[in-house]
């Protein structure tokens, strides 16, 4: 985990000591939670400086998660798009099928260091819920996962997986009954169980120090990819592409490259279209405060949060991690979006050309790759994060394509 110390002009030095990424981030929580968050910050600082913690983390990632994940050149997709070479970081091959487990391993080790005996989490697609249930089973800790009732409905296989792993899945019916409401409910649980409970947040958002620590745990993606790319091609990629829900797989890929001459593109979910219902908070939102941090949010003029929509449950969130808000403002990372329809087409394209069934979340990144690769030279390299596999989405995709299962 321990990255080489970045210089003072580095873009890898965020956040500041108050948890701010420029004007974003911070610690906007109820007073009851403040002492816990400050304690977590102190303990994370100690863990970061402890070689034993890093060794434990690395060992679990290697032998339990199956890292390093491969770096894969996609020849037929590249041929079909007729431009830049397309490479994938294969985090969908991780244990539990997505990048989410990287973060869960780190956070449960922190929880145990802090003597916590009960784990809670929120989940959208169910991938973070499954990953949390998995590490809880591995370490024998009780686990409660809050999941919007709408998502429970559309992600049944993951609900069953979590139950098999021994977790209690609590359907949340408030609001639109999706990820944002699950996060509200997890925060309500946490204030009521401050002494024994650790909240494993699933994306690089929430109050400081979560955006920082989730990024650090997920940065294994970018560190591996950078070394693998250099070893295989002797050069850095020209463009990184990743899908954005809360932004954890994207920041995990991007962060180790921030000081390199590499372009980066985050892809938000444009749902039915940016002029209709979508989940693109950078494209269609403005700064506000929700779930412990200041960041771009989908909201009305009175500051009421508006419901997001994406075919992908994992991207169906009206906010984004604060580091992305900052990277957008300073212009270091570009952000675009892909609609449900574009993601579905990209999903099928990858199935056909590479024999890989991607999750609907990275299908948004692939949709952007499909637009951009043809505009780039054949000697250029795009590296996209294939952050999840599509088994969980089979029913959603079948329904969208009008197939009967």
């Amino acid at each position: 985990m321990n990255a080489p110390a970045a210089g003072t002009n580095s873009l890898r030095n965020q956040p500041d000591e108050r948890g701010h990424f420029g004007a974003f981030g911070g610690r906007y929580v109820a007073e009851t939670l403040m002492p816990l968050i400050l304690e977590l910050e102190r303990e994370y600082a100690r863990a970061k400086a402890d070689p034993a913690f890093a060794a434990q983390f690395d060992d679990l990632l290697e032998h339990y998660v199956g890292r390093p994940s491969p770096l894969y050149f996609a020849p037929r997709l590249t041929g079909e798009l007729g431009g830049a070479q397309v490479w994938f970081k294969r985090d969908e091959l991780n244990h539990t099928g997505a990048h989410k487990i990287n973060n869960c391993v780190g956070q449960i080790l922190l929880a145990m260091r802090m003597g916590k005996t009960r784990i809670i989490a929120e989940t959208g697609a169910g991938q973070h819920g499954v990953a949390t249930a998995t590490v809880c089973a591995r370490f024998g800790l009780p686990c409660v996962v809050y999941m919007g009732a709408t998502d429970v409905e559309r992600q049944q296989p993951n609900v069953f997986r979590m139950k098999l792993l021994g977790a209690e899945v609590v359907p949340v019916t408030s609001g639109a009954a999706t990820l944002k409401d699950a996060m509200n409910e997890a925060l309500r649980d946490w204030v009521a169980h401050v002494h024994d409970t650790f909240y494993i947040i699933g994306t690089a958002a929430g109050p400081h120090p979560y955006p920082e620590l989730v990024r650090d745990f997920q940065s294994v993606i970018g560190k591996e990819a950078r070394a693998q790319m250099l070893a295989r091609t002797g050069r850095l990629p020209d463009l990184l592409v990743a899908a954005i829900g809360g932004g954890s797989n994207a920041i995990g890929l991007f962060h180790p490259f921030l000081d390199d001459p590499v372009r980066m593109l985050g892809v938000e979910a444009a749902g039915h279209g940016l002029d209709k219902q979508h989940a693109a908070s950078l494209a269609g939102g403005r700064p506000g405060i929700l779930h412990g941090n200041k960041t771009y949010l989908l909201q009305d003029e009175d500051g009421q949060i508006t419901e997001a929509h994406s075919i992908s449950a994992g991207l169906d969130y009206p906010g984004i991690g604060p580091e992305h808000a900052w990277l957008k403002e300073i212009g270091r990372v570009e952000y675009t979006s892909a609609t449900d329809t574009e993601a579905l087409a990209a999903f099928q394209l990858l199935c056909r050309t590479e024999g890989i069934i991607p999750a609907l979340e990275p299908s948004h990144a692939i949709a952007a790759v499909r637009r951009i690769a043809p505009t780039m030279g054949k000697d250029q390299i795009i590296l996209a994060n294939l952050c999840g596999r599509g088994d969980k989405d089979i029913f959603t995709v079948a329904k969208a394509l009008g197939a009967e299962l």
Binding site: R18, G26, R27, Y28, V29, A30, E31, T32, L33, M34, P35, L36, S174, G175, K180, D181, N184, L187, R188, V191, A192, V194, G288, I289, L290, H291, G292, K294, L297, Q299, E301, D302, G303, Q304, I305
Partner: protein
């Protein structure tokens, strides 16, 4: 003396009542609170994502928003109230609706509408710059929360820049039915009063007159919210009568608590 200071300078403890703006006939409900004997009124600003609230106040937030309540409506309600009553009025809610047009705009609207104080659930002292300076510049009290997790190390940060009164959240949890043990409240209030000259009001989980009276024996104020909000849920447009009756019972218990002690 400010309206808030006067409310806590009365010869008896203060009854502080909470209702959600835009839930039911708010003007009539506020009048009922005053008629029943409330000394301070907290008016909840509805938010789509009330993370610190239990089911009763969550539902009130959604009813208010479902009825189309806007921020402009809330300030109209507050200004109307101020034209009719001298009782201190405090807006309580979450950061995002308060800051949607900037803290200066919000503080200015509060001043114009005769709002005396603001409680923002999700802006801790660490992020005071987002709201505190604008309120202070307009003479509006920033009322902070202290909780069972606010230890001696934490308390000075909370008190720095607090004004109006200190709101002691007696349970580590959300608003609603869970009640704190009386002994723990007494211990906490003693600790807080040793650290500040601000009046200390105790809330969360207070529903019944007997319970309110017990707390009023040691605290400067008692806050009741969910029990009143539930009456609005139950009686809808006809809620003013029952709200007034419960408020009167609570006021009697709180105001006489020390006489009986």
């Amino acid at each position: 003396m400010s309206r808030l200071a006067s409310a806590f300078a009365k010869p008896h403890p203060a009854l502080v009542t909470f209702v959600t703006a835009g839930d039911g006939d708010t003007a009539a409900i506020l009048d009922a609170l005053v008629a029943g004997g409330a000394d301070v009124i907290e008016l909840g600003m509805p938010f789509t994502d009330p993370m610190a609230d239990g089911p009763a106040i969550q539902a009130a937030n959604l009813r208010a928003l479902g009825a189309g309540t806007t921020t402009a409506d809330i300030f109209r309600i507050a200004a109307g109230f101020r034209a009719r009553h001298a009782t201190p009025l405090v807006l309580m809610g979450y950061a995002n609706p308060m800051l949607a047009r900037g803290s200066d705009w919000f503080a200015q609207q509060c001043a114009k509408a005769g709002v005396d104080g603001v409680i923002c659930v999700d802006i801790p002292p660490e992020e005071d710059g987002d709201l505190g300076p604008a309120l202070r510049a307009r003479g509006i009290a920033l009322i902070r929360l202290a909780t069972p997790t606010s230890d001696a190390a934490r308390l000075p940060a909370i008190l720095e820049g607090s004004s109006g009164f200190l709101y002691y959240v007696s349970v580590a949890g959300i608003t609603g039915k869970q009640q704190a043990v009386q002994a723990s409240i007494e211990e906490a209030v003693a600790r807080l009063k040793a650290a500040t000259a601000l009046p200390v009001a105790v809330g969360f989980g207070v529903r019944h007159p007997e319970q309110a009276a017990a707390i009023a024996r040691v605290a400067d104020g008692v806050v009741v919210g969910s029990a009143l909000v539930e009456l609005v849920a139950q009686h809808g447009a006809e809620a003013a009568g029952p709200v007034r009756a419960l408020t009167a019972a609570l006021a009697q218990a709180v105001h006489r608590a020390r006489a009986h002690a």
